[in-house]
Amino acid sequence: MSEPLLEVSGLEVRYGGIHALRGVALKVNAGEVVALIGANGAGKTTTLKAVSGMLKPAAGQVRLYGKPVVGLKAHQFVALGMAHAPEGRGIFLNLTVAENLDLGAYLRRDKADIKADEEKYLALFPRLKERWTQVAGTLSGGEQQMLAVARALMSRPRLLLLDEPSLGLAPLVIETIFSVITAVNKEGVSVLLVEQNAHKALMISHRGYVLETGKVVMEGTGKELLSSPEVQKAYLGG
């Protein structure tokens, strides 16, 4: 087994007096989709934020390609090949779809390749092509989420962190988003996926972690977790 792409160990985060993460450990191997599931307040989003430098962990290690990255600023991670599509989409509402995608490729200078990538993701999300010159604030929730995913991919990441891409979306749109996640994963992008929609997330994931009050309480392959009675009871409604 080669070195994991992302390796997190003993990660602790405190919000003031609240101990949000109590020693989270997980890893993402190259080429994997890894799901991080858990109830509200379990620390899923906090884990992602601590991994991508948006939060300062109180303790613990985060290694990207074996190199420690704790202490780097959030914007420095993009250059290292990690893209984070934050919770709540974070679309630039007053800018057009085109401008949003261009910002995704902010650090890239290869104009021709950027154009090619744009075409590629517009083919995956044809709706965005129709909305190309529209201001992003006028898009529907689903289209905004598509834009957020496409924008994160525009930086050509090796590792994509997705925070609740299915939040508040229609089932059909969720299908689209998840099929795109699978598609980009086949092209070699590893994905760390935080989801409330545990069933859907585990279906497309190679492995998964279950988080509970700031700790990993269970891990396994997607199938194992799906069929485990505890997960079934807690997150999949029996």
Binding site: K73, V78, G90, I91, L95, D102, L103, R151
Partner: protein, 319 residues
């Protein structure tokens, strides 16, 4: 070719400004000159308040730095030396003095920006307001800068051509910036800082850069103003002046260069047209602002530019 395209507005603008300067009636020339200075101030403040969405209330402070620096230099180098013809000497000295004023303003912008731009919204507004007052009070208490009475006898170097070209330079710089990757990055900071960070944008870095650039052009505006009214006093640079500029930016639409330009011209013109109303002038001015904000809460053009509206209309007509 590219150089020509960049220079074109100036090559076209210079003779136009010169003709206006020669043939326009004096009153109109004064209004145009003030409008030009206000365009410089509004468009430069727009780089901070509009592009990066940081609310600065300290623009007059940077104007003051530019005005005093420029005035000190032109006064020190008042007499032509070495057989240089007087017109060339005065304009050359003025150019150098303006550039120095811009440089020093930018430097101060950097010094104020680095610590304060970690703050957001109201807090940043208060810090910049405080900075504005610090500058003013400092100047009032330095004898070398003339104290509260300021510096008088500033040479009358500012002409309509100078102001016109400077306003053009400001607008072109803002426009070129907005269309560049750096401009996009600034807009992303305004829209959503967390997402901007996630795109790899160094948000604090861009805020500081925008602040310094904006300060430089505020210094240019201050320098031009000082050499027009021939007097540089601390009273010209109170926070009321800062707020005047903020009003122009908000009225034009945050981030809209054409909006800020038009608002600056409109407000300068409106104040002039209402001169006949005597003491009711400021009442009418305030009423005008209230009505405009009620009718167009996001400013004249919102975050977009005037030509984007023409495009939209054409599209609608075609459909």
């Amino acid at each position: 070719m590219r150089a020509l395209r960049s220079l074109a507005p100036f090559l076209l603008g210079a003779p136009v400004f010169w003709l206006v300067q020669c043939y326009a009636p004096p009153t109109l020339a004064i209004v145009l000159l003030m409008a030009g200075v206000n365009v410089i101030l509004a468009v430069s403040l727009n780089m901070v308040n509009g592009f990066t969405g940081q609310f600065s209330l300290g623009h007059a402070g940077f104007m003051a730095i530019g005005a005093y620096t420029t005035a000190k230099i032109t006064l020190a180098l008042g007499d032509p030396a070495g057989g240089v013809p007087p017109w060339l000497w005065s304009n050359g000295v003025f150019l150098l003095a303006l550039l120095a004023g811009m440089g020093l303003s930018a430097l101060m912008g950097l010094m104020v920006g680095v610590p304060s731009l970690r703050l957001r919204g109201d807090y940043l507004a208060i810090v910049t307001l405080g900075f504005n007052e610090i500058i003013r009070v400092l100047i009032e208490n330095v004898r070398w800068l003339g104290g509260a009475t300021g510096i008088s006898g500033v040479p009358p170097y500012t002409t309509l051509v100078w102001v016109g070209l400077a306003a053009l330079a400001t607008v072109v710089t803002a426009q070129r910036l907005l269309c560049s990757t750096h401009g996009r990055a600034m807009l992303s900071v305004r829209e959503d800082e967390v997402a901007a960070e996630a795109m790899g944008v160094d948000t604090v870095g861009y805020k500081v850069r925008a602040f310094a650039l904006s300060a430089a052009f505020a210094g240019l505006g201050g320098g031009l103003l000082g050499h027009y009214i021939l007097l540089v006093t601390p009273k010209s640079f109170t926070f009321v002046k800062s707020i005047e500029v903020v009003v122009m930016v908000v009225l034009g639409g945050m981030g809209s260069i054409s909006g800020a330009t038009l608002a600056a011209v409109l407000l300068t013109g409106a104040l002039e047209l209402m001169r006949g109303l005597d003491q009711y002038r400021m009442v009418m001015y305030s009423l005008l602002l209230v009505v405009l904000m009620l009718a167009r809460p996001t400013g004249l053009f919102g975050t977009r530019e005037i030509w984007e509206f023409w495009g939209a209309k054409k599209k609608k007509a075609a459909a």
